[in-house]
């Protein structure tokens, strides 16, 4: 058979492409519910980790159903889980200065979890900051994630427990919505939780700055809403 004539080439290429597209579409449709369930459970487990209900590694072992159960048991009222892509859309509005409410997860024990979202070095970075409003706005815990930061450098915002641990107990400067929190070189002396500062990651300047900017935008919007509400 002459496999080099034009008609054969065009038909062959078309058939292969349609076939491959069909296979991919089928697999994607079949696996989609599983993938979406995984993503939702992942988001919830990040929120729960930030709010100190459990550790991320423990949650991973528990499985999706148990994670959702733990969330529903502790959440105050009913909460829609906001996906990362929805955070992205909200981020545009917040950065444009629009007055949109920041999604807040309220837990029965008084802890509130606020998502943050921004640009890292290679792609988006996001996270969840758990705060307690009882005595100023104080961070209870934090969890960060990223799409494509360099493993071992920018990836440390997620992988290094010591980076996360710095946030615990830090106060958020509620009087300064433009710069409520700082992630900077040098950070703050150990134990000083009153200066709203933590140490950035060495070798990951752009990721640290991106996270810092994301904290400013989202926490800024949150403290602004507190100030306007006039309750605290």
């Amino acid at each position: 058979m002459n496999t080099n004539n034009n008609t054969y080439t065009v038909i062959y290429t078309t058939v292969i492409c349609v076939l491959v597209a069909a296979i991919l579409a089928f697999v994607s449709q079949t696996l989609k519910p599983r993938q979406e369930a995984n993503e939702k459970a992942e988001t919830i487990s990040q929120i729960l980790t930030a709010a100190q209900f459990a550790d991320k590694a423990e949650l991973q072992k528990m499985g999706n159903a148990a994670i959702i159960q733990l969330f529903n048991d502790n959440i105050d009222g009913k909460a829609e889980v906001v996906s990362v892509s929805e955070l992205k859309a909200l981020n545009y509005k917040l950065k444009a200065g629009e007055n949109v409410p920041v999604p807040t997860y309220r837990f029965k024990n008084g802890v509130k979890v606020i998502p943050i979202y921004g640009a890292g070095l290679w792609g988006p970075v996001w996270g969840y900051i758990a705060v307690d409003d009882a005595d100023g706005v104080r961070i209870v815990g934090a969890y960060f994630d990223h799409e494509s930061e360099t493993p071992g450098l920018g990836g440390k915002i997620k992988d290094d427990p010591a980076f996360r641990a710095q946030f615990k107990g830090e106060v958020i400067d509620a009087g300064n919505p433009a710069k409520p929190f700082d992630i900077v070189k040098g950070g703050s002396p150990a134990g000083n939780t009153e200066d709203s500062k933590v140490d950035a990651i060495t070798g990951a300047t752009m990721t640290s700055k991106g996270l810092d900017a994301a904290m400013d935008v989202w926490l800024g919007a949150y403290v602004k809403s507190l100030n306007h509400g006039g309750t605290k």
């Binding site: 496999t3 080099n4 054969y8 080439t9 062959y12 290429t13 292969i16 492409c17 491959v20 296979i23 991919l24 697999v27 994607s28 696996l31 599983r34 993938q35 995984n38 993503e39 992942e42 991973q60 290679w122 792609g123 994630d145 799409e147 494509s148 360099t150 493993p151 071992g152 450098l153 060495t202 070798g203």
Partner: protein, 201 residues
């Protein structure tokens, strides 16, 4: 049988895709900061090279010569997306850790290189073996580089403190991409001083 064995062993030692053919360097720099990521990446590449070579070899007599690169690309891209989709559904945590690098297997020269150089001219079983072995040869170097980089860069192995437990101060340079090139160079040097026939005259 003897020939199959050679097809299998050659890409691991004498014709190693990274140290001898010097293919797939970019991803070798990117995913070798930590051992765990390097291992999953190695496994994914083994699956992709093996199955793509098998499919390409099955189709080899029907592929129009003028568009063969495009057809190869379609096959490889399909395999990579399938691996990514399955990881997302069944090994979500690992997929998250490797993030963008799974998708970048498509651009790994080894996959297309082996299809073009071997699978298009050989029967399916030897092609499958060749693909798997090249993935393995790539993976072994990846894991070797990751071993040194994680050990001296972070003081850990698979996240377990080893050197850092002994009071070792992490070397930041080892984590940065240039050090992967230097380690790779050292491995190539070591290999060539043992296998003298690899040295150019």
């Amino acid at each position: 049988m003897g020939k199959l064995k050679e097809t299998f062993l050659n890409p691991i030692l004498k014709g190693n895709p990274i140290t001898v053919l010097v293919l797939g360097i970019c991803s070798a720099l990117a995913v070798t900061v930590e051992l765990k990521g390097a291992c999953v990446m190695a496994l994914s590449v083994i699956v992709v090279t093996g199955v793509s070579s098998l499919i390409a070899s099955l189709l080899r007599n029907t592929i129009p010569n003028r568009v063969r690169i495009i057809i190869q690309l379609v096959i490889v891209a399909m395999m990579v997306i399938l691996v990514d989709q399955f990881l997302k559904a069944f090994a979500f945590a690992i997929d998250k850790q490797l993030s963008v690098y799974i998708g970048l297997i498509i651009t790994n020269c080894i996959v297309m290189g082996r299809i073009e150089a071997f699978a298009l001219g050989n029967k399916p079983i030897p092609s499958l073996v060749d693909g798997l072995a090249n993935g393995l040869g790539y993976g072994l170097i990846l894991i070797a580089v990751a071993f040194f980089r994680e050990l001296f860069g972070s003081g850990t192995l698979f996240g377990v403190p080893v050197l850092s437990a002994l009071g070792y101060t992490n070397n930041g340079l080892v984590i940065l991409p240039p050090m992967a090139l230097i380690i790779l160079g050292l491995i190539i040097w070591a290999q060539r001083s043992v296998q003298k026939d690899l040295q150019e005259k």
